[in-house]
């Protein structure tokens, strides 16, 4: 019998430890950074520079019920309620210097990357001014083709090198390029294990509740360059493999329907959004967070390109293809699209994405309005009604298929 702690516990503890490491480093007088979620983590991991992630804080504060309070505080500072709720939560924390749901150590520098959205740039500009700390931007231009071209790779690589030089100056720590190679190799182990784990969603039933992805991806984001993360993801994949072999699942109840869930979770309404699906026997078996956190590469130039392939950085056709492939592979019966009020980039093509996704997969879809961390943009009644409509169509189709 396997005496190890379950992987999800290991991952949670690892996430807590990474956060604690940053506090301890700050206590020791080391320089600590705030970092964008899809910034090339290989740099800071290899240099042993502790960083924390305001976006993760925004999600956690939302999940713990503090989203509205913090957003309203930021609005009192003059920030429009039109802006990303993660950033509003972070501005509120920056001003208040406290947050009862979660706190992160204040930064000595900022690491920004706009591969997920350009609002990151404006957000971090304001932080740099407010906190009077240096800001390093790695600009990863949005792709206008299916692949990242050589001009982009060259530009990103130059910024990557500039960033290392600036961090050496700010922190006094030197980049060890052997260590960088090692971190890249560990990150590949983590990415491949993550892909293997989420790949088991194609099994019927899926061995896990798809909402678990939202929890596990935090470590995929912040710690994938560590051996512990690679080990934990391999363990997670092994656990899922064992469940598949036994025909079991951590999803509570019968998996009657399988869906793709598009977009960031509504952290403030996570329980409701989950329970509404789960109580109808609907499991999430496809999400862009599956393939998107893979970051596969075999050398530095490929690493640059890999950071261009994160969700939202691709051209529309590639984004569509990722979702359609994931949905078909994981045999979904329907799809739920989150029109996220915080994210203009994600929402700007959502209607067209939904239409083309529906055409290419042939499965029914719904769109609901929500927000990643501001509960004021989410309506339980709207969500429930639309999920009911989706369930009816999926049920009808199942009946027709059975006849």
């Amino acid at each position: 019998m396997d005496e190890r702690k379950p992987a999800k516990i290991v991952l949670r503890e690892l996430q807590d430890r990474i956060a604690q490491d940053a506090w301890d480093a700050k206590q020791r007088g080391e320089k600590v950074g705030w970092c964008a979620s899809n910034f090339p983590q290989e740099i800071t991991t290899a240099m042993g520079i502790p960083v924390v992630y305001p976006e993760n804080m925004g999600a956690a504060v939302g999940a713990k019920g503090g989203g509205q309070r913090m957003c309203e505080y930021a609005e009192g500072m003059g920030y429009s309620n039109d802006l990303c709720s993660y950033s509003r939560i972070n501005f509120a924390y920056t001003d208040l210097k406290r947050c009862e749901e979660l706190e992160i150590p204040f930064p000595d520098f900022l690491l920004c990357c706009n591969n997920i959205c350009n609002c990151m740039i404006k957000w971090y500009e304001n932080l740099a001014l407010e906190l009077d700390v240096p800001l390093i931007l790695i600009d990863i231009p949005h792709l206008d083709a299916m692949t990242c071209d050589a001009d982009r790779v060259k530009y990103i690589r130059a910024q990557f090198d500039d960033c290392i030089a600036q961090l050496e100056e700010i922190t006094g720590k030197k980049m060890d390029y052997d260590r960088l190679n090692e971190v890249m190799s560990i990150s590949q182990r983590s990415s491949k294990a993550w892909l293997r784990a989420v790949g088991y969603m194609s099994a019927e039933p899926s061995p896990f509740s798809g909402f678990d992805i939202f929890n596990n991806m935090a470590v995929a984001c912040v710690g994938r360059g560590t051996v512990e993360a690679a080990d934990a993801f391999e363990q997670l994949a092994d656990e899922y493999a064992a469940l598949v072999k036994e025909g079991k699942s951590t999803f509570k109840g019968e998996e009657k329907y399988r869906i793709l869930f598009e977009g960031i979770a509504c952290w403030s309404n996570l329980r409701f959004t989950y329970k509404t699906l789960q109580s109808r026997g609907i499991n999430l078996t496809a999400s862009i967070y599956g393939p998107a956190f893979s970051f596969l590469y075999s050398n530095l130039d490929e690493l640059m390109a890999a950071y261009s392939y994160v969700p939202n950085s691709n051209c529309f056709e590639k984004e569509l293809q990722l979702r359609v492939d994931d949905a078909l592979k994981n045999k979904v019966d329907g799809a739920v699209f989150h029109m996220n009020r915080s994210c203009k980039h994600w929402s700007g093509n959502l209607y067209e994405m939904e239409r083309q996704f529906r055409e290419k997969t042939g499965v029914p879809t719904i769109v609901f309005d929500g927000d990643q961390s501001d509960p004021r943009c989410f309506s339980e009644a709207q969500y429930e009604t639309r999920v009911d409509a989706l369930t009816e169509i999926m049920e009808q189709r199942k009946k027709e298929a059975a006849q």
Partner: protein, 377 residues
């Protein structure tokens, strides 16, 4: 005075009906390329013998576009898409779409699948790290790529000499715009905010050489006017657009002159010339690194705020009017730190939210009236 009025009316007429300019150019056998903000390399379109046609939205209700964009995207993009979906821009040979803000990133696909391939999209990428050599080089490489697409549309190669000549036309136009803006600030009684805006905006729909000619004549005519005292207020504006007729009328009703601006559609676009370089495309890329004062540009340290305050002091403005484009993230982020900077400098600043789909400006009127009272106090 008659000449001033005549020229201003002429430019206002261009602005009032941009479609007529497009129709005339097409009837003349000239291809036209739509240019969405911000900082698309218009000079390359002009060098290819085509007419760059500015796409800055329109005062109208957007309906069809809401099948593509959610309601919380700025009206500038909604209304351009709406015009495209309704076929009003079918005479364009292509549109250039910079991918420099999150809402713009979605525009290309919405256009492609909504309007169709008849008016193809040219994606324009440029470096946010626009001042470092690698950034300039990246922007240059992307503008060269754009040039290749424009050449295919024009059906002819474009030489560096032709690009250099186009850069010269654009730099002359920028100089003319700067001179006009300064002249208009000295003659607020002769150039209303509406007239000032139209004279500048008309350039987006005209051949730039022709626009330069009109502006130079206008500036000379303004210089010839006798001195006249201005008893009204003087403000500088900042934002993306300040071309709402209703808003500009409110300024006029309150005796408020626009004596300088930091508006993306206005001075931000002509304050800096394109450097003359061996590779003229590199000069266009370098210019991007020299422009300041626009929220879609990477601006660590918020040079925008410093520049705005310097401008307000230089032109002896009574206050700053922030014309806030509704649903514009970059502007909404900039507002908080820049407002603080203005407060610290003791310069009154009022933000008024504007949307091209708005029909009722009474809230803006009340705010501006109150602001004017405070400034006069």
């Amino acid at each position: 005075m008659n000449e001033v009025k005549m020229l201003l009316d002429e430019l206002a007429a261009v602005c009032a009906n941009p479609k007529a300019q497009l129709d005339a150019a097409v009837a003349d056998g000239r291809k036209c390329v739509g240019v969405l903000p911000y900082f698309s390399p218009e000079e390359l379109v002009y060098a290819a013998g085509m007419l760059p046609f500015g796409l800055w939205g329109a005062e109208m209700q957007a309906n069809e576009s809401k099948r593509y964009y959610p309601a919380f995207i700025c009206s500038l993009l909604h209304t351009v898409l709406e015009l495209g979906l309704k076929g009003a821009l079918n005479d364009l040979s292509a549109i250039m779409v910079p991918i420099c803000c999150d809402s713009l990133k979605g525009f290309g696909a919405n256009w492609k699948y909504g309007v169709g391939e008849a008016v193809p999209v040219i994606d324009v990428a440029w470096a946010e790290n626009r001042k470092i050599p690698a950034g300039v080089e990246f922007t240059r490489s992307q503008f060269r790529k754009v040039l290749g697409q424009l050449e295919a549309i024009a059906g002819d190669r474009v030489s560096d000499a032709e690009i250099g000549a186009s850069v010269a036309v654009y730099n002359e136009n920028r100089a003319a715009l700067r001179a006009f803006s300064a002249a208009a600030a000295r003659r607020p009684e002769a150039v209303s905010p509406t007239a000032r805006c139209a004279a500048i905006k008309a350039g987006y729909f005209m051949d730039r050489a022709e626009h330069t000619e009109k502006l130079n004549a206008l500036t000379a005519a303004l210089a010839a006017l006798p001195e006249q005292k201005w008893d009204g207020l003087r403000v500088v504006t900042t934002g993306i657009l300040a071309d709402s007729p209703a808003l500009l009328r409110i300024l006029e009703d309150n005796q408020i002159a626009v004596v300088g601006d930091q508006i993306a559609q206005e001075s931000v676009n002509f304050r800096v010339d394109t450097p003359v370089t061996d590779d003229p495309v590199e000069g266009i890329a370098q210019r991007l690194g020299q422009v300041e004062g626009c929220s879609v540009l990477f601006d660590p340290g918020k040079q925008r705020g410093k520049e705005l305050i310097e401008l307000a002091k230089k032109v002896n403005a009574d206050g700053i009017l922030w014309v806030m484009t509704k649903f514009c993230d970059p502007e909404e982020y900039d507002y908080v730190p820049v407002k603080r900077m203005a407060d610290a400098a003791g310069i009154p600043l009022l933000a008024v939210e504007v949307d091209q789909q708005m029909v009722n400006y009474e809230q803006a009127r009340s705010a501006i009236e109150a602001f004017a009272e405070i400034l006069r106090f």
